[in-house]
Amino acid sequence: MIRSLPPKVSAAQFERALAAWRSIVGEPQVVSSADALAAYLDPFAPGEREAFSASAALMPGSVDEIRAILRIANQFRIPLWTVSTGRNFAYGGAAPRLAGSVVLDLHRMNRILEVNETMGYALVEPGVSYFDLYAYLREKGYRLWVDPPAAGWGSVVGNTLERGFGYTDYGDHAAAQCGMEVVLANGDVLRTGMGGIEIGTAWQLYQPGYGPSFDAMFMQSNYGIVTKLGVWLMPAPPAYLLGEIQFRHEADLETIVEILRPLRLDETIRNHAVIEGGLRRAAGLSARAQWYDGPGAMPESAVAAMLDKLDVGRWNLHFALYGTPELIDARYAIVQRAFARVPQARLSATRYAGDAQPTGGGDRNLAGIPAMTAFRMLDWRGGAGAHVDFAPVCPATGRDALRQYTMVKARAAEYGFDYYGGFTAGARHLHHIFAAIFDRDDANQVEQAGALVRSLISDARAAGYGEYRTHLAYMDFAAAQYSFNDGALLRLSETIKDALDPNGILAPGKQGIWPAAWRDRRGYT
């Protein structure tokens, strides 16, 4: 691999910038060799990995070092791409959108600054993973839970800023965020909300603060570098119940969503319940070759035989109830009654005392325990497994869910991919997550996966749906779908970008937002 240069920067200028950065963070914290930079390539890129290659990586250890790095970046007009721990796999990993950007890797800033059990929150730096925070809470004996996403090694800050989600009652990570410290492109440091009062004690308690609230502006954006973030934590419940309902038929999806929505709206079910497709469930229990070894997507007959053999539903609803046993009993009775009307639905549930832990990875997520079992999906297709995700927002209606499912499944089959997906339920929306699983050593599969997701984005837009998150390769295309009034939303985003970051040094192209200096680099729309 040949090391790239930042765009529009000469080798001599870049060497001067690197020397300046070494003097700030120290030689070991500057990565500039081609070999070492391979760690910042996206192993799951649905295309050429080098299209998103970094020219260097910097690993600051403090806010002051970040500010000093920014001075150099502004001086030389070198774009930076911030990552917390760089594990945003399926959406780009640690790789930058604009090739030649310098990755600002914040994993060394990994302090858990505060945990408040009484108020139920933590204040953390970007390098803190869900595993880290979970271990810290257990070690110190705090009666608080984390809400891990599917991959527990992710950064709490990074996942929250990407609007990731988990599976407990605190599953909406952006909604459970309270207070940020942000370094702007010009080096200015601000604290949002109540953090504006230095000696205050409500920074992690009251989200809005006084006047305009800016926290959401720093999510999925390139307006600043978040260096501290407050996150609300769920008090450990006295008991909980993990339930699963298996459904036999594909068309049951419509009924499931229609029954689930009122239960989410009236908070009988408060967690991010997951409607998991049968094949996704089966992939955690077996390898594809065990059931089908031919070309193209698995035929229906093979899928049906697999589900029967593994005793897995066509759809599998996972939900959790937390609280006192009395409350759990009452809510569970309502859930049972509601789903009893679905023919051939099979309900099972396990009750846990507060300190008891389930064993399976998915169930452990529902119990606030980080896990990495979700990555077993990489074994599904064989070879060097990888995946790229398509993640449209779906209204929480049965009609929309069935429509999206049918659309995605049919298109995936055209490109030779199985429907590996499911829906995570908010109250009024569903996150529909479909993963195109491919062998990254198979050039044809890589190409087909890339083309499939592009087609899916087009299909979704034609039906009125948009993505909540995309891989680097589709950030411009996904942004372009939000086209009301000739793209007024993106115009606003770029107006703000130019005002805050006139040299365009912070994450050019993230979520399709390009600063004036790099607007000619916008990709396929």
């Binding site: 721990t85 595993f131 527990g152 090694w153 070759a289 452990r364 896990a371 074994d379 064989g382």
Partner: protein
């Protein structure tokens, strides 16, 4: 590799683990060795037996390599590496290898030494045999 090391490792492994990875035993010939095996894989079970024979600590991957890393492997490697160099050898399924390699190399003190991937067979997932060796300070 000298004759004694070869006899102790490379010659022994083929009989126990099918002869596929003499380099794996070679990679583990220096310093302390920790073995990781997925016993649901035929090759993993063979490695586990070999590691036990050599009296190396051997860990079963179980169903969550991430939890194993955070609760067991990382603390063990941290504790041991303060007074000796530690190699981590193993045979796991591809997905677990991917997660482990990210965790082990990002932690800083291990680099990937050698890796070899095997295809899936007999309804078993594909496997990876690997050696992570200590990073040599330059």
């Amino acid at each position: 590799m000298d004759r004694r090391t070869f006899m102790m490792t490379g010659a022994c492994l083929p009989t126990v683990a099918g002869g596929a990875w003499p380099w794996l035993a070679h990679g583990a010939a220096h310093g302390n060795t920790v073995a990781l095996a997925d016993s649901t894989l035929a090759q993993g079970a063979a490695l586990a037996g070999y590691a036990a024979h050599r009296q190396w600590p051997v860990f079963e991957t179980g169903d969550d390599i991430g939890m194993l890393w955070h609760t067991t492997l990382a603390p063990l490697l941290r504790a041991t590496s303060t007074h000796a160099s530690v190699s981590l050898i193993g045979i796991t399924r591809v997905s677990d290898y991917f997660v482990l390699s990210e965790l082990a190399t990002r932690a800083g003190h291990l680099i990937e030494h050698t890796r070899e991937q095997g295809a899936s067979a007999n309804a078993q997932p594909a496997h990876v045999a690997f050696v992570f060796a200590p990073r040599v300070p330059r």
